[in-house]
Symmetry: C2
Subunit: 151 residues, 2 copies
């Protein structure tokens, strides 16, 4: 069977997720792209830096806003290995991310197609275009391996 | 008419909100308290520091986690002048905040009693005790004054 190759931005997000695992963090990685260029990367880091908000998406969004000198990331894409939680989905709205690409679905903690469904709320001020399931098997395998080793 | 005095932690959060307004930011302030002691404060700052995640609650939660050297703020109270949004409610869950006290309700952006109702989702891993409406009139007046001057 020939497997369709991963888009390079998702491959990069998965690489960040692997680095997170090596640091003892839940393996989730994110990349922010503008006009085809990577402007920020992030990986999950809450334990290392004692910051409960340091999810991969948050780290990448904050770095991108700093790089652009603008709290709004208009025209930017966020690539992340796992379905964002409510916190990260809310940050995606505040940052005005144009397009969201994510890997694995997260029925337990996700808030895009599960639970709080942040972008589906009538009050939601900004809705990114959402593309799910890109690199999902790879992202899911990383997470399963990580939690298997923890046990 | 005698007005019931504001609890001191909410008075402090309102003071932070006023400082935010003076800096040109939407006036929202937050305080984190542990064992009766203020361990962190925060005010809304997204424009100033180019950080779309820099809501008052997020600033306070990150500072408290740093101060305690722990990503979990067990036993901590968060006092904030406005109903938290989805991002901040999600962060409150991740941080394991024990009690949330907020001032004004926010039908447009709130995600506690409105919209995403983050703590009411079946998957929600941690639910703080929630006390609403403390200092609500004062918090609402600050916001109305701010937006009136902006027009």
């Amino acid at each position: 069977m020939t497997r369709w190759p991963l888009p390079p931005h998702m491959a990069r997000a998965l690489q960040e997720a692997r680095l997170a695992a090596a640091e003892g963090e839940v393996p989730i990685g994110a990349v922010i792209v503008k006009d085809g260029q990577t402007i920020a990367i992030g990986r999950n880091a809450p334990r290392q830096i004692h910051d409960p908000t340091a999810h991969a998406e948050m780290v990448a969004i904050r770095a991108a806003a700093k790089a652009l000198g603008n709290e709004r990331l208009e025209g930017c894409e966020l690539w992340v290995t796992l379905e964002p939680c409510a916190m990260c989905a809310g940050a995606i709205v505040h940052a005005r991310i144009a397009r969201l690409y994510y890997g694995a679905s997260d029925p337990k903690g996700g808030a895009v197609e599960h639970g709080a469904r942040v972008f589906d709320q009538p009050q939601c001020l900004h809705r990114p275009d959402v593309y799910a399931g890109i690199g999902g098997p790879e992202a899911g395998e990383l997470l399963r391996d990580f939690f298997r080793e923890k046990r």
